[in-house]
């Protein structure tokens, strides 16, 4: 029951979904869409496990004052601010006491975290109670903004989009841009022309990089552009095609192993 039933489910649903792809009938199409919806729903519930894990790891770091524990507050505040902003929206022309509400919510969260880890729990629970009363009071009496769980007004909340555009996007874009510098130092080590293979890598990479350089001397741009285009569309295409076919066959083989119960690592221990 504990281990056999899950394997049976994997086999039945795996075999069924593989076969249904080759049945050109509307009922097969319906079952496919229907079960695809199921996986999406189950997947989102599984996401809650990940979020809980993030919360727990952060609180544990604060509790045991591990290295960089102060920044765990930043992670938790960022998480909860985004969730709150994503479920609220502006009704009138101004936000009213919305900013006070967000601050009260953060205070509530801070007190609650401390209540779960501090020795003097009573004080922190009392403070979190005060913060809760304030934020519930604002939520009840302030009509300038509303809460929406079932409609997507929260996604259009300007505070939510500003957090996404001016906090999340710049950091993520800069982190990827940082890789330009680290990749350059990695390239120095990788590109030393020690043998034929390293030389091939070096030459093709330099040609493709020169292609995007606007300061090339006269005459070179056309030749480099043509050479780079050929490299990208002929040898690179052959290499990528071989890799993609390899990946596809690998996924099929692994999926078969999972369906047939040969690969069981995803079930965990116990």
């Amino acid at each position: 029951m504990k281990r056999q039933l899950p394997f049976l489910l994997v086999f039945i649903f795996g075999a069924f979904m593989t076969i249904q792809y080759y049945i050109p009938h509307e009922s097969s199409e319906f079952v496919y869409t229907f079960l695809l919806d199921w996986t999406m729903i189950i997947g989102i519930f599984a996401l809650a496990l990940g979020i809980w894990s993030l919360y727990q790891v952060s609180v544990e770091k604060i509790k045991h004052k591990k290295e960089n524990w102060v920044y765990s507050y930043v992670t938790l505040f960022g998480l909860f601010i985004m969730v709150v902003l994503g479920f609220t929206f502006k009704v009138g022309d101004s936000w009213g006491l919305y900013s006070v509400f967000v601050i009260a919510l953060m205070a509530f969260l801070y007190c609650l975290i401390n209540a779960s880890i501090a020795k003097s729990k009573g004080l922190w629970f009392g403070l979190s109670g005060v913060a809760l009363v304030v934020l519930l009071g604002i939520a009840y009496f302030d009509d300038s903004w509303g809460v929406a769980f079932m409609t997507s007004e929260g996604l259009r909340n300007t505070m939510f989009t500003n957090f996404a555009d001016f906090v999340m996007t710049p950091i993520l874009a800069t982190m990827f841009a940082l890789l330009a510098f680290f990749i350059a130092s990695a390239a120095y080590r990788a590109f030393r022309a020690r043998n034929v293979l390293a030389s091939l890598l070096l030459v093709s990479a330099i040609i493709v990089m020169l292609r995007f350089n606007p300061y090339m001397p006269f005459g070179l741009p056309e030749l480099i552009a043509e050479l780079s285009n050929w490299l990208m569309n002929v040898p690179n295409l052959a290499a990528q095609r071989a890799i993609v076919i390899g990946i596809g066959l690998g996924i099929v083989a692994t999926s078969l192993k999972v369906i047939l119960g040969i690969e069981r690592g995803y079930m965990g221990k116990g």
């Binding site: 189950i42 992670t75 710049p170 841009a177 091939l200 043509e226 050479l227 596809g248």
Partner: protein, 266 residues
């Protein structure tokens, strides 16, 4: 630009500089930005999945039912099943009942792998093989230009390169003799491909870096444009915010230099 928008932009520039500061060394500003993006991205994902997937695929399907009937009286009551299975995933929190979470996990893995087999065969393997096996244009073998990407030579090279690349990844037979020669040709093609992909990736990162610098420049320009009396959003606050951030960055750099000198002299 409204002052509130300028403040948001300033926040973005501060976080950009904080992230770039990692190039010097790991420091509190980088750690702040790093931890902030983890929380904000997780919150963003929750909201997008909630509004984009959970509401249309679950809540709206069950909206004509009643909660006290556990939505079993809704027209699409069978959507209660994945919700229950999803809730069963949360038994992972319990040591005693965590084994129950294997049921939805089994269903999820079964459906996902079952969908993956025909889709992967069709979309990755078959389509790539079809595209590879085109008729070689022998009459136009070099196409008047050795670097033509549509000539017979290019088609032949793509075909042979793909086969050789696959041969290189086949480890059930020792790479010796003719087979070894084909595998060697395969690794040459793969290395050229890796080099081209590497160069392309580097340039993509560089373009992201240029974009961040352009944003920083646009922020500075905006700060001084708004201090122009002719500007409809005229305010002296814009350059003040600009100088505050610049002073902050310069102050941090001076502090680091002083610390460095102190350590050197100690």
């Amino acid at each position: 630009m409204e002052f509130s928008d300028f403040l948001w932009m300033t926040c973005g520039i501060f976080l950009t500089l904080a992230t770039f500061s990692f190039l010097y060394k790991d420091n509190p500003f980088y750690k702040f930005a790093e931890h902030l993006v983890v929380g904000v991205s997780a919150g963003f994902t929750i909201i997008v999945l909630w509004h984009g997937t959970l509401v249309p695929n679950l809540f709206q399907k069950l909206e004509d039912g009643n909660w006290f009937m556990l939505w079993l009286n809704s027209s699409e009551w069978w959507y209660v099943v994945p919700a229950v299975l999803g809730l069963l995933m949360w038994t992972r929190f319990s040591k005693k009942y965590s084994w129950v979470s294997r049921w939805p996990m089994g269903l999820y893995i079964g459906i996902s792998t079952g969908i993956a087999i025909p889709l992967e065969m069709s979309n990755r393997v078959n389509k790539q093989l079809y595209a590879m096996m085109v008729e070689i244009d022998w009459a136009n073998f070099f196409g008047g230009n050795i670097l033509s990407t549509t000539s017979g030579f290019a088609q032949l090279l793509i075909f042979l390169g793909t086969i050789a690349g696959l041969v290189y990844f086949f480890f059930s037979k020792e790479h010796k003799g003719v087979f070894g020669g084909v595998a060697t040709f395969g690794i040459w093609i793969l290395m050229i491909g890796f080099g081209a992909s590497f160069g392309y990736t580097v340039m993509a990162r560089v373009s992201l870096f240029i974009n961040r610098m352009q944003d920083t420049k646009a922020w500075g320009v905006e700060a001084f444009n708004a201090s122009d009396v002719a500007n409809p959003h005229y305010s002296s606050m814009y350059p003040i915010v600009f100088y505050l951030l610049v002073a902050f960055v310069v102050g941090y750099i001076i502090k680091e230099i002083m610390d460095h000198l102190k350590r050197k002299n100690a």
